[in-house]
């Protein structure tokens, strides 16, 4: 059971880290200073969440594991994040849509996780929930603003949906370690939050004047370590110094 729980925690951590890393690429390049700050803030929150999850996983793993060995010394196939979080930033609309889809998911997930029997996981979820609730509000507002802004912004949001929607199915497809943890009472059953996720997404898309796609073939695999080609480049950048100077302290 312990290995499944560790994998589940790493999955939660990897989601937060890789999205935080992607968002950080915006730092200094945002469309206006206030939003540059907001995006950096979300990136910081996500990296903070990832650290909490990694630290917990490291304590269960023992044998010298740390937050940094987990983030910096695992390979592409060992990362368990969803494909959605590793996708290119694209334009501001695509980044905001990605954020909304994930924040909507994380908000429901962390709410449910708060009452689960693993108390450490519940505590991290509770702490993260405050942040994620803000991320959801902020990204919902942007999806609406851009969907219902100008013709150009509407077109760009349609394109973003076309690019990203195919990765949303994976959010609700449990990996084997997840199913095991659900049975043990330490993970959230994805079936219980799917309806609410769809409801909220529908609500925001409707206000934005954007269609919810139907019958799209979903791409999955990230949660089991089968990623898109982008993942290797993300890790090459993220892990560069730890790989180039093994065993150094920073």
């Amino acid at each position: 059971m312990k290995q499944e729980l560790i994998n589940y925690i790493l999955h939660l951590a990897d989601n937060a880290l890789i999205l935080g890393q992607r968002n950080a690429e915006w730092c200094g390049h945002g469309p206006v200073l206030e939003q540059d700050i907001a995006m950096t803030n979300i990136s910081l929150d996500l990296i903070g969440q990832a650290r909490n999850f990694y630290q917990y996983a490291a304590s269960l793993l023992g044998e010298g594991a740390t937050e940094d060995t987990l983030a910096y010394l695992r390979t592409e196939r060992e990362f368990r994040n969803c494909l959605l979080v590793e996708q290119h930033n694209g334009d501001w609309g695509q980044t905001l849509l990605r954020q909304f889809l994930i924040s909507n998911f994380q908000q429901l997930l962390y709410t449910a996780l708060q009452t689960h029997k693993d108390r450490q996981l519940a505590a991290i979820a509770e702490k993260s929930l405050k942040e994620v609730t803000y991320h959801l509000r902020w990204s919902s507002e942007w999806v609406i603003r851009l969907g219902d802004g100008t013709r150009e912004s509407h077109e760009r949001m349609l394109k973003a949906i076309d690019t990203l929607w195919r990765y949303t199915g994976e959010l609700f497809e449990p990996a084997a370690y997840e199913t095991a943890c659900v049975q043990d009472g330490t993970a959230v059953s994805l079936a219980t939050i799917k309806d609410e996720w769809q409801h909220k997404t529908g609500e925001v898309f409707s206000e934005a004047g954007l269609p919810v796609p139907e019958n799209i073939f979903m791409l999955t695999g990230g949660k089991m370590g089968k990623h898109t080609e982008q993942m290797g480049y993300i890790l090459a950048e993220l892990q560069y110094l730890q790989r180039a100077y093994p065993n150094a302290q920073w």
């Binding site: 200094g28 950096t40 802004g149 110094l241 150094a248």
Partner: protein, 313 residues
Amino acid sequence: MPVKDLEQLFQQKIDAEVKIEPRDWMPDAYRKTLIRQISQHAHSEVVGMLPEGNWITRAPSLKRKAILLAKVQDEAGHGLYLYAATETLGVSREETINDLHSGKAKYSSIFNYPTLTWADIGAIGWLVDGAAIMNQVMLTRTSYGPYARAMVRICKEESFHQRQGFESLLVLSRGTPEQKEMCQDAINRWWWPALMMFGPSDSESTHSEQSMRWKIKRKTNDELRQNFIDMCAEQVKILGMHLPDPALRWNEARNHYDFGAINWEEFWNVVKGNGPCNKQRLAARVQAWEDGEWVREAASAYARKKQSGNKAA
């Protein structure tokens, strides 16, 4: 009241250490000097995000990544207060930003140097923020109220950044031989440009004298530079590194460190746009602004829709 009398009253206020506020009468040249200086400072914060941002995705640990993100975010915040301070002088943020993009407005030349290794992030914190603080502590007492108040806030955060930068170098200086080498190399590359941050020598500086009279500045470029050198010459010993200046030595009689000649030809070339990263830095800012145009347009279109919708309801 004739302008001459107004000017006299203005100078009396300055001499009596009364802060000048946005609605007060001020000489045109005072206003222009402040607009130039504060907007240049705001641009420096924003352009300064780029060389440091260059290492965010490659930071060597999660803790360092979080610290660096928070730091660059602080710089953006400083940019915001300073643009707001410029607006109190009657220039919009958009105009100010356009002047940066057209090349009319300058920003601190230090940000035209590249960040080549991770150690550069520590060296920027220690030396570049350190030099900036020397200037900014003085500016907390500058004669224009909104600028002085913005500086108080900025100084607190900058000193925190400087300590973090130094601490990051300290870790490298006690690390592996490669890390030590990286640390010394970064100090070698950032030392002289950091000294140039104080601007030309007093004898060459075009704006200094009047700015001192108006108490926009309270110390000369050379005084500030000397204070900085005296401080760093001591701090570098804690790192077990050295400053790349063979002429650096304590002068008992002056009670200061003597130092070697600064390469002003390099300084003026970087100011004129010939530095290693001038083109890239400006291009990155212009591109962010242009790429963001549709976003800003959509946001205002949406706000207008909401506003007219509310009125109709």
